[in-house]
């Protein structure tokens, strides 16, 4: 069952110029993307800076003015404000941000920060509210004395956990996590990712996990979409994307992930440079004449790639053959 269905979503930012400051052009930050998030899964949205992944995330939460297309939740298009209100959408869908310091109000205590969504949606008595906040702190592994502290008194990892606690306060169905661990150290990152997984297991939450870090995405996500210049170039399961990538852009991203295998260093580098060469040389094959990705074509029930039909099938067959040989 899909919790969210995104259909041909477009977010274009206007460029104003000229004497009357009229809209003369548009930047297509998100340029017609479609994908579905199933209930209880973690869906990975991967792309480099400027790919439009954060804009997509904000559109799903309702923080972005959508140009066209729809985002269906319980069969209703939540790009319309009245539908969001009617469905209590902002209670069911929450967000975790990358920068935990600037996304938490520095002048509010942790108690007030976590209770804020509760106050907006649940109208609990003072005691019940406090009890809930304490429960939430417990879920993310923070002590009760955190209640009366301010955000700057916590480390980055603790603040990110506070952000998680705030996001889960209203028992949301979906959490949009925009680069939730990018600013964290490795050991702290592990802690936050574990919390996110545990909360998912306990509460059946779905995540839209937005990240540029393919290593983290592989760990967290069952299904993944790769975004490039406002469009999706490839979607598929974890296995599809990591073991059978078809689009050159996906291959290029994967090849650029640093490997911890020191012995394979030279080989890894050679393969990265080889992929980069193909990427540079064959732009015309993989992108249309405007330099944009083609529409997605399904090569298997789970796996789609943005290529002309014939080429997509050809590549998919070659990949199947390669795997059979291996």
């Amino acid at each position: 069952m899909n919790i969210i269905e995104i259909k041909n979503l477009k977010v274009h930012y206007p460029i104003r110029s000229g004497f009357w400051n009229r809209i003369t052009d548009e930047v297509p930050a998100v340029d017609g993307i479609s994908f579905n998030i199933r209930a209880g899964e973690t869906y990975g949205l991967v792309g480099e800076s400027g790919s439009g992944k954060s804009t997509t995330g904000k559109s799903v939460v309702g923080l972005e003015k959508v140009t066209s297309g729809s985002i269906l939740y319980k069969g209703k298009d939540i790009t319309k404000k009245e539908n969001r209100r009617r469905l209590d959408y902002n209670r069911d869908v929450q967000m975790i941000f990358q920068d935990s310091l600037s996304s938490l109000n520095p002048r509010k205590r942790i108690e007030d920060i976590i209770a804020e969504p509760l106050r907006n949606f649940e109208h609990l008595s003072k005691e019940d509210e406090k009890l809930r906040v304490l429960q939430l702190l417990d879920i993310v592994g923070l002590d009760a004395d955190a209640l009366y502290k301010y955000p700057h008194q916590f480390s980055g990892g603790q603040r990110q956990r506070i952000g998680v606690a705030r996001a889960v306060a209203t028992h949301p169905k979906l959490i949009v996590a925009d680069e939730p661990v990018s600013a964290l150290d490795l050991s702290v990152q592990a802690q936050v990712l574990n919390f996110m997984k545990r909360i998912q297991r306990d509460f059946g939450i779905s995540y839209l996990f937005i990240s540029h870090d393919l290593g983290v995405v592989r760990h967290m996500c069952q299904n993944i979409a790769i975004m490039n210049r406002g469009r999706l170039v490839e979607i598929g399961t974890r296995d599809d994307i990591y073991n059978h990538p078809l689009h050159i852009y996906t291959k290029r991203l994967l090849a650029a992930i640093p490997e911890t295998n020191v012995d394979q260093r030279a080989a890894h580098r050679a393969s990265r440079l080889a992929v980069e060469q193909v990427y540079q040389d064959e732009q015309a094959t993989y992108y249309d004449h405007d330099g944009k990705a083609f529409p997605l074509v399904a090569v298997s029930p789970t796996h789609s790639v943005a290529l002309p039909e014939k080429l997509a099938q050809q590549l998919a067959q070659a990949e199947t053959k390669r795997e059979a040989q291996a």
Binding site: S187, A190, N194, G215, H219, A256, I257, P258, E259, D263
Partner: protein, 339 residues
């Protein structure tokens, strides 16, 4: 120029910061050598002192707010004995530095060519024509496609990757023997990161420079470094060749760190989490093993009272004896494990 000579010898260096009137060690008793023609990675998490070490070598600390002891022998000169004017003969000329955030590291109001030729102004006697020529040559060397155009641009007109290339061009303008790169790719996309690391490697080969690469990213280290020093809480806890560190890690911290990375084959497991937190500078214990509180299941007598470095293989050193007794609580294998 011999390839194996230590041209940078850091001897027992400590740097203390003044906090509320007291001095606290951010790095303590660091011993480290850098050779020509190598990339030495210093890896550790935020607050471990890796950047402090870099800025100490560069002499960038305010002498009123810091207290530095020890000796940094650079090609026969003790850098720590120099005054600011003396240091300026080395900075930019023989030691170049690359910074993390390429946008804020460039002056927003100056054109790229002015910012690069500024370093030539102070360390060369080139004419302004020659300087201009050198600037274009440098921009070309760091892989900028249209040097003449980029030279006349302002930092905000460039992409993040191009800005970092400009920073590298500044650092290598005078062909320094030592380049210190402090998190040079942290602010960049992975594909750009790979390109920047390629540029660094190429420059190191071309100039026979020694590079100190400071990073928190183990992947970057594994791809780039010849040797690795792992830092925890202001100390070096392990150092060795990249192969030694990644294939036979010894220190509990190194092993824990490697295990907390998301791996290919444990997608459905929880990640390994190191217990507890790094103590703040003010609360740093002055005796005993600083990592001991984070591995409480290891008996106290496994640690040394005053941990020292122990050689486990040629060029491979580990702090404290606890590595011999370390095991992960969720795994039964004790002692050293080969990967």
């Amino acid at each position: 120029m011999t390839n194996t000579s230590d041209f940078l010898d850091i001897k027992d260096v400590s740097t203390a910061f003044k906090i509320d009137g007291h001095f606290y060690d951010a790095i303590s008793h660091i011993n480290l050598q850098v050779h020509h023609d190598e990339i030495l990675a210093i890896v550790g998490e935020s607050g471990c002192g890796k950047s402090t070490l870099a800025t100490t070598i560069m002499g960038l600390h305010d002498p009123h707010e810091t207290r530095i002891s020890g000796e940094i022998d650079f090609e026969g000169t003790n850098l720590l004995a120099l005054d600011d004017a003396g240091f300026n003969r080395f900075r930019g000329a023989k030691i170049g530095m690359i910074f993390q955030d390429p946008l804020s590291a460039l002056n927003p109001l100056k054109r790229i060519d002015d910012q690069i030729s500024e370093v030539l102004d102070y360390h060369t006697t080139l004419s302004s024509d020659e300087k201009h020529h050198r600037v274009l040559e440098l921009l070309d060397q760091v892989g900028i496609v249209n040097p003449a155009r980029t030279a006349r641009q302002f930092p905000h007109e460039l992409s993040g990757g191009m800005r970092q290339r400009v920073i590298i061009a500044i650092a290598i303008a005078c062909k320094p023997d030592l380049i210190i790169a402090d998190e040079p790719t942290t602010a960049l996309d992975v594909t750009i990161q790979a390109q920047i690391l390629d540029v660094l490697r190429a420059i190191q080969k071309e100039n026979h420079a020694g590079i100190i690469l400071i990073t928190h990213d183990l992947g970057v280290v594994a791809e780039t470094a010849d040797r690795v020093a792992v830092m925890y809480a202001g100390q070096i806890v392990e150092q060795g060749s990249a192969e030694q560190i990644f294939n036979q890690p010894q220190h509990p911290y190194t092993r824990s760190l490697l295990r907390s990375m998301p791996q290919r084959d444990d997608e459905n497991d929880d990640l390994y989490v190191i217990r507890g937190n790094v103590p703040s500078l003010q609360k740093m214990p002055q005796t005993g093993d600083r990592f001991a509180p984070r591995i409480p299941w290891i008996p106290a007598d496994a640690h040394e009272a005053q941990p020292t470095m122990h050689q486990v293989a040629p060029g491979h050193e580990v702090r404290c004896t606890c590595y011999q007794h370390f095991y992960f609580p969720d795994r039964t294998t004790k002692g050293r494990v080969a990967k």
